[in-house]
């Protein structure tokens, strides 16, 4: 019972790391997406390489690089910061690909119509292109966010006191510690359900807004 409460108390840390990493990933992914769409071959190739690198190195290695590696250069982060930044870097790679897919889903005629109407680049992007792209991206974003809740467990290796860290501490000190992992697994599965429902609700609302 004590273990059960300990796990529940750690849920806010899991959510903090998840939300922080998603936010950083989102912000970093925007310039990456634009560079990836560049017509200049070297720029495009560089963006592709960065995206591949972000996605191709396991999150745990990113966390170690930031938490243990950067202090060599006198750049220090506490575990939560390092966890958020490390998972944020990985997220940036995946989100950039989701953004790219969303923009590809917007019909070319929409871009041409913006030009024909003489809309500025900023207006056409914020008022015409991105609302449509967002609608196409939403399922991908929701799936990624739910996956990220689970990936946030990796932050336990650098000492972020989220659910898995709490569970391992408990498991090492008690013979029946294994049960807290079942609790943790149930909470992870339980967390993904409301977020899944929320995403579905948002999706249908956006679809309705689009149909209007």
């Amino acid at each position: 019972m004590q273990g059960f409460w300990a796990i529940l108390m750690a849920v806010p840390y899991t959510l903090l790391v998840t939300a922080g990493a998603f936010l950083i990933g989102f912000i970093l992914a925007i310039p990456l997406t634009f560079l990836r769409r560049s017509t200049m071959a070297p720029v495009k190739a560089l963006a592709m390489f960065i995206i591949d690198l972000f996605r191709g190195i396991p999150p745990i290695v990113w966390l170690f690089l930031i938490y243990f590696g950067l202090p060599v250069l006198k750049i220090r982060f506490n575990p939560i910061e390092a966890g958020i930044i490390g998972l944020g870097v990985v997220s940036a790679g995946y989100l950039a690909e989701i953004f790219r897919g969303g923009l590809l889903a917007v019909h070319r005629g929409q871009f041409e119509a913006c030009k024909a109407l003489g809309l500025s680049g900023w207006t056409s992007f914020t008022r015409v292109i991105s609302p449509q792209a967002l609608r196409a991206m939403l399922p991908g974003l929701a799936t990624y966010f739910i996956g990220l809740i689970k990936d946030s467990s990796i932050a336990s290796v650098i000492g972020v006191t989220e659910m898995v860290f709490t569970a391992t501490t408990y498991a090492r000190n008690s013979p029946e510690g294994i049960y807290v992992f079942f609790v943790a697994a149930a909470v992870y599965i339980g967390l993904s359900v409301p977020f899944g429902l929320m995403a579905r609700g948002m999706e249908s609302r956006l679809q309705a807004a689009g149909a209007r």
Partner: protein, 217 residues
């Protein structure tokens, strides 16, 4: 010692770690893919207990983080009076994760098989087992190949989590060198490059295969 000399000195050890990572991924796929196919068929079964059990196994395997699965195996098996080494625990945990995820890709592939070809097979009086074996599974797996290749790249990265249950794969070797040399930045950068040297070409290959398969359809 400059970075390159430091990398060169530790490279053989790191390469051995990469070998362990690749073994973990290979064994997880070797055991996990057939189980994934079984689960995919199980979730479509007409027998209710089989269907529910399969769905529960898939949803738990996909819903719980791979790290939690590894810890459950690592701390759980000793309670069943069996204490295998970390490597065996890692293979068991990663196999389950692989089976749960791949079953969904395979199920998607099986669903893509046209009803016409199934009806044709039935019209030719093929037994249900033969329809499955010669018609549905071969066609369905072909559709699922790009997704399965993508997953193989993912599970190779996930093997890095075996570090936390004392398996000396690439990340664990890098971590060991880091604490004895105090050159964390350089050694983890080398580890990252070694992972990327596998995952990046593999994802190019996946894209090529995907293009080829979509073109043929």
């Amino acid at each position: 010692m400059n970075t390159f000399a430091f990398w060169a000195k530790n490279f053989p050890q790191m390469l051995a770690g990469l070998g362990v990572s690749l073994q973990l991924a290979g064994l997880a796929l070797l055991f996990g893919l057939p189980l994934g196919l079984l689960l995919a068929l199980g979730t479509g079964s007409k027998l209710r207990p089989v269907r529910w059990l399969s769905i529960a196994l898939v949803e738990i395997g996909r819903g719980a983080p791979a790290l939690v699965v590894l810890y459950v195996v690592y701390f759980g098996l000793p309670l069943l009076q069996w204490t295998p080494e970390g490597f065996v625990c890692a293979v068991i945990g990663l196999t389950y994760t692989t089976a749960a995820y791949t079953s969904e890709y395979i199920r998607g592939g099986l669903k893509a098989v046209s009803p016409g070809s199934i009806e044709a097979a039935q019209a030719l009086a093929m037994t249900p087992v033969d329809v499955l074996r010669f018609v549905i599974v071969p066609q369905g797996l072909r559709v699922a190949i790009p997704a399965l290749m993508g997953f193989a790249i993912q599970i190779f990265q996930v093997t890095s989590l075996a570090y936390s249950i004392t398996v000396s794969e690439l990340t664990a070797v890098a971590s060991g060198i880091s604490s004895s040399s105090f050159r964390a930045l350089e050694i983890f950068a080398l580890a990252g490059l070694m992972y990327a040297a596998i995952t990046i070409p593999a994802s190019w290959l996946t894209n090529k295969v995907e293009e080829r398969i979509t073109l043929r359809q």
